[in-house]
Subunit: 214 residues, 2 copies
């Protein structure tokens, strides 16, 4: 193994160029970022990767498998962002939890196409074989960040003791709902000031009060 492309003159464009799997994923992600999941077609991905329209079938079972892989990648980026926000936030654990919620909403607004990609219907029931789908695993990691944050709030008694997951679920529902409603444009007609952070702050404060009290 002296470099993945050692058998080619340049890095591209022979029968076996060695890294098509990754190139296809990158091309697909570009298309998502430019035009949303609707812009992702197997043929468009192949065109961008400068291969024939059937080449992707040697790396992905079908279009759904490609989209699934893209969703997993988006979830990974999302999880990293959330974790970064939690770790870099300061203040009380509850304040940091609020920052985490705001980061959740901000990610959705900053990366609407990736966010929608993560929540495409039908992503989670793949055939494969028995086990849970990869995207379920990826989303579970994102949820884990939230659960950890709840635990951090429970330790000094800011949130009641007990199984943290129900609390995390409530928090998740709230920020996720806000993010989705904002993306849907369902809130466009209302005089809520500063669509983004303002609303996130409002909602997470209400949520925080609900979580605190017994």
């Amino acid at each position: 193994m002296t470099g993945a492309a050692s058998h080619h003159r340049t890095a591209a464009r022979r029968y076996h160029h060695g890294d098509l799997h990754r190139v296809l994923l990158e091309a697909g992600m570009e298309l998502v970022r430019e035009g949303g999941t609707e812009a992702v077609s197997l043929r468009a991905v192949a065109r961008r990767a400068e291969v024939s329209h059937a080449a992707p079938y040697h790396h992905f079972r079908d279009k759904a498998a490609l989209v699934e892989a893209l969703a997993v990648e988006a979830f990974r980026i999302f999880t990293r962002t959330l974790r970064g926000s939690w770790e870099s936030a300061d203040g009380s654990p509850l304040e940091r939890l609020g920052a985490l919620g705001t980061a959740y909403v901000r990610f959705a607004l900053d990366h609407p196409f990736e966010f929608r990609l993560m929540h495409l219907p039908g992503l989670r029931q793949m055939p494969a074989a028995g086990g849970a789908s990869p995207v379920s695993g990826a989303s579970a990691e994102a949820f884990g960040v939230l659960v950890d944050a709840i635990k951090a709030c429970q330790e000094p008694g800011l949130i009641p003791e007990g199984d943290p997951e129900p609390f995390a679920l409530t928090a998740w529902s709230t920020v996720h709902g806000l993010a989705v409603l904002l993306l849907d444009g369902l809130l466009d007609g209302y005089p809520f000031e500063a669509q983004g952070g303002e609303l996130a702050g409002l909602v997470t404060r209400t949520l925080g009060r609900g979580l605190m009290s017994r």
Copy 2:
């Protein structure tokens, strides 16, 4: 005008059968209920209505317009359901608000395809002419039910005074988020008992506590 179909022997199947617009909507809604929005194609709708594949173009500008009309219809059914739930619930206004939230989640779980139809991306920016899109109006009516419920809670002082819309938004975000997460299957791996009403109750109770305090 002595009856819309007076010029036909039977009720169906001539060049002008008089009611194709409605028939197309019904066929489209059937397809949604059977296989989700993915199963809705202009040609499938036309087939089910037993007309040629281009006939729908005399009643809808394009596929997006048909889907938009279906979404409006779904929102109307949804709004009726919510209003019915609010009016038939008893107990304190806060308890009735909880019932409303549970009804929101239950509708999503009972009618997943219609619910997703209501929240398809891109539904809300139609060309038309200046004014807000019809689906925005339809969703605003659903939101109105929530706002009214919040107002009813404010009257006896169960929720602080002031503009009800921020409170309604928080409540909406919470139940909507839970509904979407459940539909996405994001919560499948967790030992939350009784996916439906249990979680809705849990979440709405936490939400209610957050709304009450100050």
